[in-house]
Protein backbone atom coordinates (compact mmCIF):
# COMPACT_ATOMS: atom_id res chain seq x y z
CA UNK A 1 0.00 0.00 0.00
CA UNK A 2 1.55 3.29 -1.06
CA UNK A 3 1.19 6.42 1.07
CA UNK A 4 -1.27 9.07 -0.08
CA UNK A 5 0.63 11.61 -2.15
CA UNK A 6 0.20 14.48 -4.57
CA UNK A 7 2.59 15.42 -7.38
CA UNK A 8 2.40 18.46 -9.63
CA UNK A 9 4.76 19.77 -12.28
CA UNK A 10 4.60 23.16 -13.91
CA UNK A 11 6.97 25.21 -16.04
CA UNK A 12 7.35 28.89 -15.28
CA UNK A 13 9.02 31.50 -17.46
CA UNK A 14 11.43 32.88 -14.87
CA UNK A 15 14.83 32.14 -13.34
CA UNK A 16 15.54 29.64 -10.54
CA UNK A 17 16.54 32.53 -8.26
CA UNK A 18 13.31 34.46 -8.85
CA UNK A 19 11.24 31.30 -8.34
CA UNK A 20 13.09 30.49 -5.11
CA UNK A 21 12.48 34.04 -3.89
CA UNK A 22 8.77 33.70 -4.68
CA UNK A 23 8.59 30.41 -2.76
CA UNK A 24 10.28 31.81 0.34
CA UNK A 25 9.52 35.54 0.55
CA UNK A 26 6.51 36.16 2.84
CA UNK A 27 5.31 39.27 1.01
CA UNK A 28 5.41 37.52 -2.37
CA UNK A 29 3.74 34.41 -0.97
CA UNK A 30 0.87 36.58 0.31
CA UNK A 31 0.28 37.90 -3.23
CA UNK A 32 -0.32 34.50 -4.82
CA UNK A 33 -1.49 32.42 -1.83
CA UNK A 34 -4.82 34.20 -1.30
CA UNK A 35 -3.58 36.36 1.56
CA UNK A 36 -1.91 33.49 3.40
CA UNK A 37 1.70 34.12 4.27
CA UNK A 38 4.61 32.11 5.60
CA UNK A 39 6.52 32.73 8.81
CA UNK A 40 9.98 31.18 8.57
CA UNK A 41 13.54 32.07 7.69
CA UNK A 42 13.59 28.95 5.46
CA UNK A 43 16.80 27.61 6.99
CA UNK A 44 17.14 23.87 7.77
CA UNK A 45 15.82 23.19 11.26
CA UNK A 46 13.78 26.40 11.43
CA UNK A 47 10.12 26.48 12.32
CA UNK A 48 7.67 27.22 9.54
CA UNK A 49 4.02 28.29 9.61
CA UNK A 50 1.34 29.48 7.21
CA UNK A 51 -0.88 32.23 8.63
CA UNK A 52 -4.20 33.59 7.45
CA UNK A 53 -4.58 37.35 7.02
CA UNK A 54 -6.47 37.57 10.34
CA UNK A 55 -3.53 35.98 12.13
CA UNK A 56 -4.97 32.49 12.58
CA UNK A 57 -2.54 29.66 11.95
CA UNK A 58 -3.32 27.54 8.90
CA UNK A 59 -0.43 25.09 8.98
CA UNK A 60 2.74 24.53 10.99
CA UNK A 61 5.94 22.61 10.56
CA UNK A 62 9.66 22.71 10.13
CA UNK A 63 12.13 23.31 7.32
CA UNK A 64 13.82 19.93 6.83
CA UNK A 65 16.02 20.87 3.86
CA UNK A 66 16.74 24.13 2.05
CA UNK A 67 19.22 24.34 -0.81
CA UNK A 68 18.57 27.65 -2.60
CA UNK A 69 17.51 27.85 -5.36
CA UNK A 70 16.96 24.14 -6.00
CA UNK A 71 15.36 22.18 -3.19
CA UNK A 72 13.06 22.89 -0.26
CA UNK A 73 11.57 20.22 2.03
CA UNK A 74 8.98 21.16 4.66
CA UNK A 75 7.50 18.96 7.39
CA UNK A 76 3.91 20.14 7.33
CA UNK A 77 0.73 19.69 9.35
CA UNK A 78 -2.68 21.31 9.02
CA UNK A 79 -3.73 23.22 12.14
CA UNK A 80 -7.15 24.71 11.40
CA UNK A 81 -9.27 21.75 10.38
CA UNK A 82 -9.45 19.17 13.19
CA UNK A 83 -10.07 16.25 10.82
CA UNK A 84 -6.98 17.17 8.80
CA UNK A 85 -4.83 17.92 11.83
CA UNK A 86 -5.74 14.47 13.17
CA UNK A 87 -4.14 12.90 10.12
CA UNK A 88 -0.75 14.07 11.31
CA UNK A 89 2.42 15.05 9.53
CA UNK A 90 3.15 15.33 5.87
CA UNK A 91 6.26 16.19 3.90
CA UNK A 92 6.31 18.63 1.01
CA UNK A 93 9.25 18.68 -1.38
CA UNK A 94 9.66 21.56 -3.84
CA UNK A 95 12.21 21.16 -6.61
CA UNK A 96 13.36 23.90 -8.96
CA UNK A 97 15.20 22.50 -11.97
CA UNK A 98 16.54 23.59 -15.31
CA UNK A 99 15.54 20.20 -16.71
CA UNK A 100 13.85 20.56 -20.09
CA UNK A 101 15.25 24.09 -20.32
CA UNK A 102 16.50 24.69 -23.82
CA UNK A 103 17.61 28.30 -24.29
CA UNK A 104 19.19 27.34 -27.61
CA UNK A 105 15.70 26.40 -28.80
CA UNK A 106 13.95 29.39 -27.34
CA UNK A 107 13.14 27.84 -23.94
CA UNK A 108 12.84 30.30 -21.09
CA UNK A 109 11.19 28.23 -18.37
CA UNK A 110 12.24 26.51 -15.18
CA UNK A 111 10.55 23.36 -13.93
CA UNK A 112 8.82 23.40 -10.56
CA UNK A 113 7.88 20.04 -9.04
CA UNK A 114 5.77 19.81 -5.90
CA UNK A 115 5.58 16.45 -4.17
CA UNK A 116 3.44 16.27 -1.05
CA UNK A 117 3.01 13.02 0.85
CA UNK A 118 1.96 11.94 4.30
CA UNK A 119 4.52 10.53 6.69
CA UNK A 120 2.31 7.57 7.58
CA UNK A 121 -0.15 5.37 5.73
CA UNK A 122 -3.12 7.60 6.62
CA UNK A 123 -3.70 11.18 5.58
CA UNK A 124 -6.02 10.69 2.64
CA UNK A 125 -8.22 13.68 3.49
CA UNK A 126 -5.24 15.97 3.94
CA UNK A 127 -3.77 14.95 0.59
CA UNK A 128 -7.20 15.39 -1.04
CA UNK A 129 -7.35 18.92 0.38
CA UNK A 130 -3.89 19.91 -0.84
CA UNK A 131 -4.60 18.31 -4.23
CA UNK A 132 -7.34 20.90 -4.70
CA UNK A 133 -5.30 23.77 -3.30
CA UNK A 134 -1.94 23.36 -4.97
CA UNK A 135 -3.13 23.83 -8.59
CA UNK A 136 -4.79 27.14 -7.62
CA UNK A 137 -1.78 28.41 -5.68
CA UNK A 138 0.67 27.35 -8.40
CA UNK A 139 -1.45 28.80 -11.22
CA UNK A 140 -1.41 32.09 -9.31
CA UNK A 141 2.34 31.85 -8.77
CA UNK A 142 2.94 31.16 -12.47
CA UNK A 143 0.71 34.05 -13.53
CA UNK A 144 2.39 36.40 -11.06
CA UNK A 145 5.93 35.58 -12.16
CA UNK A 146 5.13 35.63 -15.87
CA UNK A 147 2.77 38.60 -16.10
CA UNK A 148 3.17 40.51 -12.83
CA UNK A 149 -0.47 39.81 -11.99
CA UNK A 150 -2.29 36.92 -10.33
CA UNK A 151 -5.16 34.86 -11.73
CA UNK A 152 -7.36 34.90 -8.60
CA UNK A 153 -7.68 37.59 -5.93
CA UNK A 154 -9.52 35.42 -3.45
CA UNK A 155 -9.63 31.72 -2.76
CA UNK A 156 -12.08 30.31 -5.33
CA UNK A 157 -15.14 28.72 -3.73
Amino acid sequence: MSKPSFAYVTYIRTTPEKLWAALTDPLTIRKYWFGITAESDFKPGSLWALKFEDGRTADTGEILEAEPPRRLVIRWRNEFKPELKAEGWSRCTMLVEMTDYYPDRGGKAVKLTIHHETEGEGGGKFIEAVSGGWPKVLANLKSLLETGDIAFQEYPK
Binding site: T10, P135, K136, L138, A139, T147, D149, A151
Partner: protein, 79 residues
Protein backbone atom coordinates in the same frame (compact mmCIF):
# COMPACT_ATOMS: atom_id res chain seq x y z
CA UNK B 1 -6.99 -3.25 -11.76
CA UNK B 2 -7.37 0.38 -12.83
CA UNK B 3 -6.17 1.63 -16.19
CA UNK B 4 -3.06 3.82 -16.29
CA UNK B 5 -4.16 7.44 -16.38
CA UNK B 6 -2.94 10.99 -15.88
CA UNK B 7 -4.86 13.93 -14.44
CA UNK B 8 -3.69 17.56 -14.40
CA UNK B 9 -5.46 20.73 -13.32
CA UNK B 10 -4.44 24.31 -14.05
CA UNK B 11 -6.16 27.70 -13.83
CA UNK B 12 -5.78 30.23 -16.63
CA UNK B 13 -6.72 33.91 -16.51
CA UNK B 14 -8.93 33.77 -19.63
CA UNK B 15 -12.62 33.28 -20.50
CA UNK B 16 -13.76 29.71 -21.32
CA UNK B 17 -14.33 30.60 -24.99
CA UNK B 18 -10.75 31.72 -25.42
CA UNK B 19 -9.37 28.57 -23.81
CA UNK B 20 -11.65 26.48 -26.05
CA UNK B 21 -10.34 28.24 -29.15
CA UNK B 22 -6.79 27.62 -27.98
CA UNK B 23 -7.50 23.90 -27.56
CA UNK B 24 -9.20 23.38 -30.91
CA UNK B 25 -7.84 25.84 -33.50
CA UNK B 26 -4.60 25.04 -35.38
CA UNK B 27 -3.51 28.67 -35.72
CA UNK B 28 -3.38 28.87 -31.92
CA UNK B 29 -2.06 25.38 -31.08
CA UNK B 30 0.80 26.01 -33.50
CA UNK B 31 2.00 28.79 -31.18
CA UNK B 32 2.23 26.73 -27.97
CA UNK B 33 2.23 23.04 -29.06
CA UNK B 34 5.76 23.10 -30.46
CA UNK B 35 4.53 23.98 -33.92
CA UNK B 36 1.88 21.24 -34.19
CA UNK B 37 -1.32 22.30 -35.91
CA UNK B 38 -4.15 20.62 -34.00
CA UNK B 39 -7.70 20.82 -35.32
CA UNK B 40 -10.35 19.68 -32.86
CA UNK B 41 -13.25 22.08 -33.41
CA UNK B 42 -15.63 19.46 -34.84
CA UNK B 43 -18.60 17.65 -33.31
CA UNK B 44 -18.61 14.21 -31.72
CA UNK B 45 -17.88 11.75 -34.51
CA UNK B 46 -15.67 14.20 -36.40
CA UNK B 47 -11.89 13.89 -36.38
CA UNK B 48 -9.14 15.50 -34.34
CA UNK B 49 -6.11 15.94 -36.55
CA UNK B 50 -2.58 17.11 -35.86
CA UNK B 51 0.10 18.04 -38.34
CA UNK B 52 3.74 18.31 -37.30
CA UNK B 53 5.88 21.38 -38.08
CA UNK B 54 7.45 19.30 -40.88
CA UNK B 55 3.99 18.85 -42.41
CA UNK B 56 3.58 15.21 -41.39
CA UNK B 57 0.17 13.95 -40.26
CA UNK B 58 0.69 13.08 -36.58
CA UNK B 59 -2.90 12.35 -35.46
CA UNK B 60 -6.21 11.39 -37.00
CA UNK B 61 -8.35 10.48 -34.01
CA UNK B 62 -12.08 10.42 -33.23
CA UNK B 63 -13.70 13.28 -31.30
CA UNK B 64 -15.74 11.39 -28.71
CA UNK B 65 -17.45 14.30 -26.94
CA UNK B 66 -17.58 18.01 -27.72
CA UNK B 67 -19.58 20.48 -25.63
CA UNK B 68 -18.08 23.92 -26.32
CA UNK B 69 -16.68 25.64 -24.35
CA UNK B 70 -16.81 23.13 -21.49
CA UNK B 71 -15.83 19.60 -22.39
CA UNK B 72 -13.78 17.94 -25.10
CA UNK B 73 -12.88 14.25 -25.28
CA UNK B 74 -10.89 12.71 -28.11
CA UNK B 75 -9.03 9.50 -28.82
CA UNK B 76 -5.26 9.59 -28.88
CA UNK B 77 -3.18 7.29 -31.01
CA UNK B 78 -0.02 8.70 -32.58
CA UNK B 79 0.28 7.68 -36.22
Amino acid sequence: MSKPSFVYVTYIAAPPEKVWQALTKPDITEQYWFGYRVTADGKAGDRMTAVSPAGKQAHDDPIIESDPPRRLVYGWQPL
